[in-house]
Symmetry: C2
Subunit: 346 residues, 2 copies
DNA sequence: TTGAAAGCGGTACCAA
DNA sequence: TTGGTACCGCTTTCAA
């Protein structure tokens, strides 16, 4: 474990010069720089980041705080962030803040206050008041990836537009009985879910179908979508011809439910999702695609800007989803949709 | 940003005493301890972990290195680790080392050498020689969670036994044409996959069915299992009556494929997985359950032991999977299995 | 039981 | 362009 003094000695220079040569801050003749670097390499020198941080105040670490790790969107964003950070030589410390968990409380009350990071990326966090308070108290640049940042920067999908276009896609195919599946107003009703529901409702209302608006709550997971869809679809009298999933996971759950019940997708039921999940292809799911990986990378870019230039104004980036038509949607079968209530077709 | 000197001053003691009172190392009278703690609280004092680390050599951070984040098993282990670490007040820095990625090279060549952690948990890493070399060079206690640790500690599932019992479950139901689905010897052939394949082969051989052994390679994902199963099951002459999935994701992919093809599970085809994935219930999947969350927590426990007592002998913990019978498996339908090659039933 | 002081391993100012 | 040196904020002997 050689230190910078060892390197300096071996290169025949002072600690100061060695430091300058290694960090690149300040003037060093090309010649000595080379000598110092050689010495460092020969000794296998690795700077102590603690010592460096102590004096510079920079940790060379970015904190990432997110409520779920095991959901596609979050894992993708995380990978996007990690990739970008690695390229910059920055460490990533993870704070998994499941809503309501004890760990989450610890994170907000203790961990964040330690400021063991130069900046923070909050993914889909939706902090409560007290939490937000703690968050701003940290006083480090923050970028959020879903969920508006009070006056910090934010990268978001235009959820309203995405859901609206999902519904409009079905409307354009002639569907009128279109339900929105997913999200539960009584249990962790996330802002994203609400915004998407709003977009769907707007599309319905604009099409003069306000009376057809129908929100089926469900947990925002594949099993959640499955269970809710089984309920919804089993009852032929309630059954819609089109379904907008709050996200692909829920939409795919619904497709699986439909198949189980012998309901043809898209013959009897058209389904649209939002995400372009890794399983979307496999289920031929028509969806409004977003690119969470890129969002993660973008968050890193914005955050690093804020770190180098603390005065910079917050950035709000709103991305648009891209419609990908696969084969979970088709023109409505008018005959069947007209008579379905009577036939009680299984 | 008050420092320990501020706390000391406010409490009317020296820095040394303040430090002792706050860290709990060394004697302090209960009285002064209380005064110091009050002062710290009043000032909102938070110790600089850099300064502390610089002198103690402890980072109070655990590094976690894993090849995937977006696969169920890994995400679960990660959450288990995170939960345990939070309770101990330890930070978790994440190294996402996707096989073959540039980031992975950076991690092994640069990031690990910085030793910004007191210990390392490697989840399903399967390092190459050069990587293993770098890993041991780090000289920090390491625990692996899948994949044997050379002479470091390891928490593993008895994969061989799990796969063997999966196959034996099918054999007990009278199946003879049993295939093993998943894992690709020509592309990232993971040790886990090989061990499970071995277990399956052993069961088949022990049952005198060595000639029926059949390994269908596939990517170890749901879409991978799906694609491979579509191929396998479309050809009625090749179609087995039982399927052991290398993991639940692959097994579920196969179930979805079967449903698409109109093959009844378990009527025409019995499927067993390994994992007890969050989707297992929804697909009524019979599986050999493991508990990755608990494995993560256990890894933390073992690692912390090694950190406090560097001399401790490596621990190798081998867990047994637990058979959960749901309804993706049933006694073989001898009639149909006997004639299937002729009927070419879709 | 407490305090003084010496570092931990770097960085960055200032002078040369 | 380089070197001397103060200091980042804490922990930990050692002496009192």
């Amino acid at each position: 474990m050689s230190g910078i003094s060892d390197v300096a000695r071996r290169a025949g220079v002072s600690k100061a010069t060695a430091s300058r040569a290694l960090t690149g801050h300040g003037y060093v003749s090309p010649d000595t720089r080379a000598r110092v670097q050689d010495a460092a390499r020969a000794l296998g020198y690795v700077a102590s980041s603690n010592a460096a941080s102590l004096v510079t105040g920079r940790t060379r670490t970015i904190g990432v705080i997110m409520p779920y790790l095991n959901r596609w969107f979050f894992a993708e964003v995380l990978e996007g962030i990690q990739d970008a950070l690695l390229e910059h030589g920055l460490d990533l410390t993870l704070y998994d803040a499941r809503p309501g968990s004890h760990g989450r409380r610890l994170i907000f009350e203790d961990f964040l206050a330690r400021k063991r990071f130069d900046g923070l990326i909050a993914v889909g966090l939706e902090p409560e008041d007290r939490e937000l308070e703690r968050l701003v108290a940290v006083g480090r640049p923050t970028v959020s990836v879903v969920g508006v940042g009070a006056d910090s920067s934010a990268i978001t999908l235009d959820d309203d537009a995405a859901a609206r276009r999902a519904a409009e896609h079905l409307l354009a195919l002639g569907h009128r009985r279109i339900a929105f599946l997913g999200g539960d107003p009584h249990d962790h009703w996330a802002d994203v879910d609400r915004r998407r529901l709003d977009g769907y409702m707007r599309a319905m209302t604009d099409a003069g179908l306000a009376h057809e608006v129908c929100h089926i709550p469900s947990a925002v997971t594949m099993p959640g979508g499955y269970a809710a869809a089984v309920d919804l679809l089993s009852d032929a009298s309630r059954r819609p011809t089109g379904l907008v999933g709050v996200c692909d996971e829920v939409a795919i759950g619904a497709i699986i439910a439909a198949r189980r019940l012998g309901i043809l997708v898209p013959g009897d039921l058209s389904v649209v999702g939002i995400d372009d999940h890794e399983f979307a292809e496999m289920f031929a799911l028509t969806t409004l695609a977003q690119d969470p990986r890129a969002q993660g990378a973008e968050a890193v870019r914005v955050l690093l800007d804020h770190i180098t230039d603390p005065g910079a104004a917050p950035v709000e980036l709103q991305l648009q989803a891209r419609l990908i038509v696969r084969s979970s949607t088709a023109p409505v079968d008018r005959a069947s949709s007209a008579i379905e209530a009577n036939t009680g077709r299984r």
